[in-house]
């Protein structure tokens, strides 16, 4: 990643082009060749490896004029440069080319008012000609405003047609010799990328328009993109030459992804490339088309603990064969107010274990975390979060939430760390076929660290692998209710299936409570009393 960059202020017009554009004498042959080939001013700067952002922020016309002034100023010196003259040798040719090129067609030319008389650039197919000005910046900003996001900073993402890499390669081969004469250390990687030149030119304008800082890394991403169907065919010869770079993938519409094209260009030999592709590239007749501007805010993560007081509430929506079995769910009761407040597009809910529909979760509650997707508002202070918690809690008496807080994505993993080793406490209402004696209850209380082997319960076997898992019942205590009923308190290793431990699941949990007590046992009610995971941290009331 590039370091975060600021913006150079407007430059003084009086400064000479060489200072203004940070060009060197030895750039002349490169400039000449590129202009003659039909490159726009910004692309010329790119191939001259100019890294000064402000150079890209002038209008295309001004830039072009300055380049021409720069060339004419250096004409005298150039003549001394034998190699440059010999290679370039084409001022007349350039003239012919410039004059013969069609004027930039299409509405963007007139809208932007900064298109060049030389037509659409062979290298950037218009991206750096027609979409680097105020008009496009305004267009992008308008789209962002329509998204109704709250943000202080933004980052700009640009997607370009894959064939720009082919055109870039062709241009590079065209001027490689001249560039190397300027400095033998310069390589294709030193050429400023279209993407970067575009950002340097336009992101300041967008930031100013929206009153936001533009950073290389921001939670709020504004994506723009361009397509150019006219030149899509540029890539096709690569598929024949490097077929192994273009394997069809499931989720991509075309095999010609930018990555695949770049890979193929690295593999293909110079001579092979030149046999199949013109150097320099052919001038396109139309400029590129901008894609719709899209915005994406990175997810916000909210954590807390919940109690579930209902025996008729699933944790997640209960849908069988596309039909809803039960109204409501824990995750919806928690997420709906959050979605509304954060104006998020969706959410992912996750928790430290889960309880069945008919199980309550009491005590301190069960840790959970919610990922809010693409929130349009992401900043909330502690008081506002407390208010949200209050909203959730007053909306339903089936659940209650505490310790609600904004957390980082990384922190949510702490909810799952050591989940298997954690202890969970339960309270169960037990029925036994035989009448209960106090000796039975004493017997249970004397059992410590009982190892049990649980086959995957039949009730979940349809969706989980068949296995035998060893679990620990740390301790039990029982309180007598009537002849056939008692309350059993259990402290167990997380992941123990309590219901199956009690009724035995057709003898598939061994030992089970029925076997221990030498009777048939059943579980009528179950409550989770505590989930001993010390995350998220408590929030003082």
């Amino acid at each position: 990643m590039k370091p975060s960059r600021g913006f150079a202020g407007p430059e003084q017009k009086s400064i000479s082009p060489s200072v203004m554009l940070s060009l060197k004498d030895k750039d002349c042959p490169v400039i000449r060749k590129l202009l003659a080939s039909g490159c726009c001013g910004r692309c010329v700067l790119r191939f001259c490896c100019v890294g000064k952002y402000s150079a890209y922020q002038q209008s295309c016309e001004d830039l072009r004029k300055e380049l021409l002034v720069f060339l004419s100023e250096h004409d005298g010196e150039q003549s001394h440069d034998a190699s440059g003259e010999a290679e370039a040798g084409d001022p007349p040719c350039k003239k012919v080319k410039l004059e013969s090129s069609e004027p930039s067609s299409g509405e963007n030319a007139s809208v932007e008012g900064e298109s060049e008389p030389s037509g659409v650039c062979v290298a950037c197919v218009g991206v750096l000609q027609d979409f680097c000005g105020q008009t496009y910046a305004k267009q992008v900003s308008e789209a962002v405003r329509k998204g109704d996001y709250q943000f202080e900073s933004l980052m700009l993402a640009v997607s370009l047609p894959a064939q720009l890499s082919v055109r870039e390669h062709s241009c590079w081969l065209h001027i490689k010799k001249e560039v190397r004469e300027k400095s033998m250390y310069l390589d294709k990687e030193d050429v400023v990328q279209v993407k970067d030149a575009f950002k340097w030119a336009v992101q300041g304008l967008v930031g100013k328009e929206l009153g936001a800082t533009v950073l290389t890394n921001s939670a709020f991403e504004v994506s723009v993109g361009f397509v150019h169907p006219e030149t899509d065919g540029d890539c096709h010869f690569l598929a024949t030459e490097c077929p192994d770079c273009f394997k069809p993938t499931k989720n991509k519409a075309s095999v010609f992804t930018r990555m695949a094209v770049v890979k193929a260009l690295e593999k293909i030999s110079e001579s092979k490339f030149l046999r199949h592709y013109p150097c320099p590239p052919v001038s396109p007749s139309s400029t590129c088309t901008p894609l719709q501007t899209t915005c994406l805010h990175t997810s916000v993560f909210i954590a807390g603990r919940y109690n579930k007081f209902s025996r008729e509430l699933p944790q997640t929506p209960w849908v069988i064969d596309g039909e809803r079995r039960m109204e409501g769910s824990v995750e919806e009761l928690i997420a709906d107010p959050l979605l509304a407040a954060f104006k998020a597009d969706g959410f992912n809910f996750c928790s430290s274990g889960r309880e069945d529909v008919d199980v309550r979760t009491l005590g301190n509650g069960r840790p959970f975390a919610i990922e809010l997707l693409n929130p349009h508002r992401a900043k909330f202070n502690k008081a506002e979060i407390r208010q949200l918690q209050e909203t959730i809690n007053t909306a339903s008496d089936k659940i209650r939430v505490r310790d609600l807080q904004i957390v980082t994505r990384e922190a949510t993993s702490r909810m799952k760390v050591g989940e298997e080793e954690k202890t969970k406490s339960y309270s169960a209402l037990i029925w036994t076929q035989k009448p209960i004696t106090s000796a039975d209850l004493d017997f249970l209380e004397n059992i410590k660290e009982l190892k049990i082997d649980q086959k995957t319960p039949l009730r979940v076997l349809h969706r989980r692998p068949l296995a035998v898992r060893q679990r620990l019942i740390h301790s039990m205590s029982a309180s007598y209710l009537d002849t056939h009923h008692f309350t059993l308190q259990l402290r167990t290793q997380a992941g123990t299936y309590i219901k199956e431990f009690v009724h035995g699941d057709f003898g598939r949990t061994k030992p089970n409570l029925g076997a221990l007590m030498e009777t048939e046992a059943d579980i009528l009610e179950l409550d989770v009393e505590s989930v001993d995971v010390d995350w998220p941290p408590a929030v003082p009331e």
């Binding site: 086959k455 076997l461 969706r463 035995g504 003898g507 059943d522």
Partner: protein, 177 residues
């Protein structure tokens, strides 16, 4: 034994539907009971009217090796999709049970589906089959195909129809006496 207080619905009552196949393969009274969980998993058990469970009989042996080449004990499933499990049709034998009086009975799958597990506990403790035929003494667990989960039981009897068959049987016996 003391009659227990009216108990709440049992695990089977709460989560399973009882289906029956009577006189399996035309063999009189060889009734099977199939417990289908709401998640479509089926447990194959002996119906209470099965001859093995009558008149204080004892079991000599239970054998899941149904032919020279095939033993249900070799059944292994792996992963969520239960790869590798033997696929059974209605009349696939699951095991043979020999009583101490040398009568032999074959227990059948009764439904189409993938065999998930057989009950090895009854090999060590055959009495489980007699004492708890509908729970710990089950014969096998079978997972019907998802798309067949509703139709696999269409040729089986409901609890009501089964009780009807059994009561008619006893009247016939009484009449013949």
């Amino acid at each position: 034994m003391e009659e227990t207080r009216e108990r709440a619905p049992s695990v089977i009552d709460r989560y399973y539907t009882r289906w029956y196949k009577t006189d399996m393969k035309g063999r009189s009274c060889e009734d099977h009971c199939i417990l289908q969980h709401s998640n479509r998993i089926c447990i194959i058990t002996l119906a209470e009217s099965h001859p093995i469970l009558q008149q204080g009989r004892k079991i000599k042996s239970i054998d899941y090796r149904i032919s020279d080449g095939c033993s249900r004990l070799n059944n292994k499933v792996s992963g969520k999709s239960k790869r590798g499990g033997q696929f059974l049709t209605e009349f696939a034998p699951l095991c043979r049970i020999t009583c101490t009086d040398d009568t032999e009975y074959t227990i059948f799958s009764c439904i189409r589906g993938r065999l998930l597990e057989v009950n090895e506990d009854i090999l060590k403790h055959p009495d489980l089959l007699l004492e708890k035929p509908s729970t710990d003494g089950y014969i096998a667990v079978i997972l019907p195909k998802l798309e067949e989960s509703k139709t696999v039981t269409k040729d089986l009897l409901t609890r009501e129809q089964y009780e009807d068959v059994v009561s008619k049987r006893s009247t016939q016996v009484q009449e013949s006496l």
